[in-house]
Symmetry: C2
Subunit: 149 residues, 2 copies
Amino acid sequence: MTEKVCLKSPGKQKRMTKQKALIWQILSETKRHPTAEWVYGEARKDMPNISLGTVYRNLQLLVSDGMAQELNYGKGVSRFDANIEMHDHFVCERCGRIYDIDEPMRECSTLNRTHCGCGEIHRYRLEFYGVCHSCLCVQSEECENEIDV
Amino acid sequence: MTEKVCLKSPGKQKRMTKQKALIWQILSETKRHPTAEWVYGEARKDMPNISLGTVYRNLQLLVSDGMAQELNYGKGVSRFDANIEMHDHFVCERCGRIYDIDEPMRECSTLNRTHCGCGEIHRYRLEFYGVCHSCLCVQSEECENEIDV
DNA sequence: GTAAATGCAAAGAATTTGCTAGCCC
DNA sequence: GGGCTAGCAAATTCTTTGCATTTAC
């Protein structure tokens, strides 16, 4: 009997499909933190009869393979991010855009504690809320930014 | 014409109802960060024919009146918290319980910045993820904690 | 060739909404 | 008494699932 060595998901062999590759490409090329619906819209430009179910399934696969992370802001819609490094986000309360924060905060001792009164800390999630530069510029005008941008 | 002074939600006068009072009482007396469903279950003990829609509506009202805050962990279900002070949370990855972190972190300069590369910061949200004391104690045993606790 | 993935549509879960009757101020 | 709220149920929204067919390896 041939010995099988498979480090992740031992019982199941994953196949690369055109759909999965497309979804991964879309996700990794955008700076947005898109919803499944937006990814679906983009994917249909290249592959008009891809289905929404497939998009959801592949986004899940990417998340469980550690190639993307799922974020939830406000309620309802999940957003996906191909940037899997620990990083913080800035959420604009006016236009809804989500930005990655580039400045590192990793050395902050408050954030790097490993214990607190509640238990053992493994990781944290930090989000700042405010108004983005883009919205500050158009302060007095109608905000041009779509919620989904 | 009588001059009306109303600081919040000018066009709409809010009324206190038995249902709203009950929901507020339930929310403020628990240390959990309950879901709408849990609040509904509790409310029905006192008021058996209260409806789920009413619970949702009143939770929203409490949030928009600044008497409660809405939290979203993972996806799907919203949780509500009568503690409206800026405070951080600890989420146990094993049992799903959410704790308020009592230790103040408000003086941390990294967290108290008012600007970042993305824009103007108004507030932040910080959550730590890990394993709570309760789960650490029952390390080898079956975890007794319900997800919904 | 065969198991895994797709497309489609239907099911599900959580939340919101429309409407009439009832209750608060 | 007027109009905000409740209760009920239907509608929406987002996501998952079942199944026959197609596809990657």
